[in-house]
């Protein structure tokens, strides 16, 4: 349990042998928001202001920040669900269209998004098998036996039994649903997966298992993750670099290893220091406290 609460940090040199990683995603000058577009070309409520990001292939970038800082909006803009007002998103050096309709099927396939709540992200009226089959048919034109076999392989990949494919999402546990949610993204055979708070709705033990799975799959399949979270310990566990968002702006970016010590921006410092710490030795330390020990002796 305690291990799950505080996943161990990541070795920044673990993948140093992959010299010169290529940027898979390059976001430059991205500005976006909601509401009617005004005469200046900006929406009424600007949520993201001039965001620049670069993400190397096979690495993970954590995006942290408080609620309302624009983390999820960033994911939606990158996925093409919300057209950007300004700026560009490029994948492998090719600039992507602003909306999903402006992107080719291959571009859409390479970039998948996984949502926070698996309860609403899976169609409650479709069996798991059908949910996983659709991206296979849509992106790869698979059918019949080959598709069935691929569904089995995907379930195996996310460590779920094959028999689960006949169940409806309502008949699964929260962790199982999130694994299916992730398997659906994997079905597209993506290169970059945007994970929008995927462990936030899970308890710490299940979340830790999901994080382990993500880590394993990254190594097996060479995936790149953009990991959006408000939970700093999960970001620490899976990410190589962290970007800190505050009021729609990226205030700082640093390697995860420097997160505890190297934050420079005052907001990042505040955010990182406000993580509650699990101090397992607090009861023992009470005995060493002079005033407390004296009080105990008197009784």
């Amino acid at each position: 349990m305690i291990e799950a609460f505080h996943p161990k940090g990541r070795d920044p040199n673990a993948r140093a042998e992959n010299a010169e990683p290529q940027p898979i995603l390059k976001v430059s000058g991205l500005t976006a928001g909601y509401g009617a577009v005004g005469s200046d070309g900006l929406p009424k409520f600007v949520i993201l202001k001039d965001i620049d990001l670069e993400l190397e292939r096979g690495r993970s970038l954590g995006v942290i920040g408080e609620s309302g800082s624009g983390k999820s909006t960033l994911a939606r803009v990158i996925a093409g669900l919300l057209p950007a007002a300004k700026g560009s998103v490029a994948m492998d050096g090719i600039t992507l269209g602003h909306g999903t309709r402006d992107r080719s099927k291959q571009e859409l396939r390479k970039l998948q998004i996984v949502f926070q709540l698996a309860d609403t992200a899976l169609n409650p009226n479709k069996p798991v098998g059908a949910i996983l089959s659709r991206p296979l048919t849509f992106y790869h034109g698979m059918s019949g036996q080959a598709r069935e076999a691929e569904v089995d392989r995907l379930l195996d990949l996310v460590r779920l039994p094959k028999a689960l494919k006949h169940r409806l999402p309502g008949e699964l546990s929260g962790g199982q649903k999130q694994r299916i949610n992730f398997a659906r993204a994997l079905a597209a055979r993506p290169e970059l997966i945007l994970c929008d708070e995927i462990t936030s709705a899970l308890d710490t033990v299940v979340a830790a298992a999901i994080l382990d799975l993500l880590d394993e799959l990254q190594r097996e399949l060479g995936l790149t993750y953009m990991f959006i979270s408000h939970d700093l310990s999960t970001v620490e566990a899976v990410c190589d670099r962290v970007a800190v968002m505050y009021q729609g702006e990226k205030v700082e970016e640093m390697p995860t290893s420097r997160m505890q010590s190297g934050a420079e921006h005052p907001y990042s410092k505040l955010l990182i220091s406000s993580v509650p710490k699990l101090d397992t030795g607090w009861l023992d330390s009470l005995g060493q406290d002079r005033t407390f020990a004296d009080a105990a002796d008197r009784h």
């Binding site: 099927k105 859409l108 998004i113 899976l122 409650p124 659709r134 991206p135 169940r167 409806l168």
Partner: protein, 281 residues
Amino acid sequence: MTMTAPARKGHFGFHVNAVGIIGAAIILFWMVVAIAAPWISPYPVGQIVDFDYYGPISSQFWFGTDYLGRDMLSRVLMGARYTVGISLASVTIACFIGVTLGMIAAVISGWFDAILSRFLDALNSIPSLMFGLVVVAAVGSSISVLVLTIAVLYAPGSYRFARALAVNVNAMDFVTVARARGEGTLYTIREEIFPNIIGPVLADFGLRFVFIVLLLSGLSFLGLGVQPPNADWGALVRENIGGLSFGAPAVIVPSIAIASLTISVNMLIDNLPQRIRDRSE
């Protein structure tokens, strides 16, 4: 992982409960009656066969006679053709148009939704009997005109209902996922939205059917619906309402017929056969 014993399979892999079977049987019965009416009704519909009006049930006239002394059994049997046929046809057309447009509007949204919604709201504001009057005055009364008129009248309500449901489903993450995947509008509507609104839509179908049976009788009463000497069940109740104080079967029998049909439609819809999912692995 242990699997529970597979559910007992009915024929074709469907599971139906008793209430649903009873509902389906009554509907089927009335459909057969509607088709076979000309051959099984003992007297012609318009023929006055008895000098006594509001006659009681007898071996000669099983359901008594009406206010003119016509045989009620024959009239109810022939009336089934109009009530079952017209109501089912128009409710099907109305719901098909309304639900389809409602889902399209919810998914496309924007100005398309705004214009369509306002247009159908305007259509909804026209009183149904007035609209029927105008249409019948303009093109004359026939079964197909009646079916289409009623369908047009009931489609906006069905549209509103389906759109409200579809807008809710459309906001769910799985629809967003489908959109991010690059799915088209047709797939989103058919596979992601429709299966999630089908339950309430069918309940609405049943209710709307009942309303149409009543509207049809109203139109018939004004002379716009089924033309005399033929009559649908609603019209039979209306024309024999004077016999209520005598306890005449002429008013009770068509009422029972309407009740049995509308209740069984709702019984069937609330207990639709459920497909048994194959979990044998």
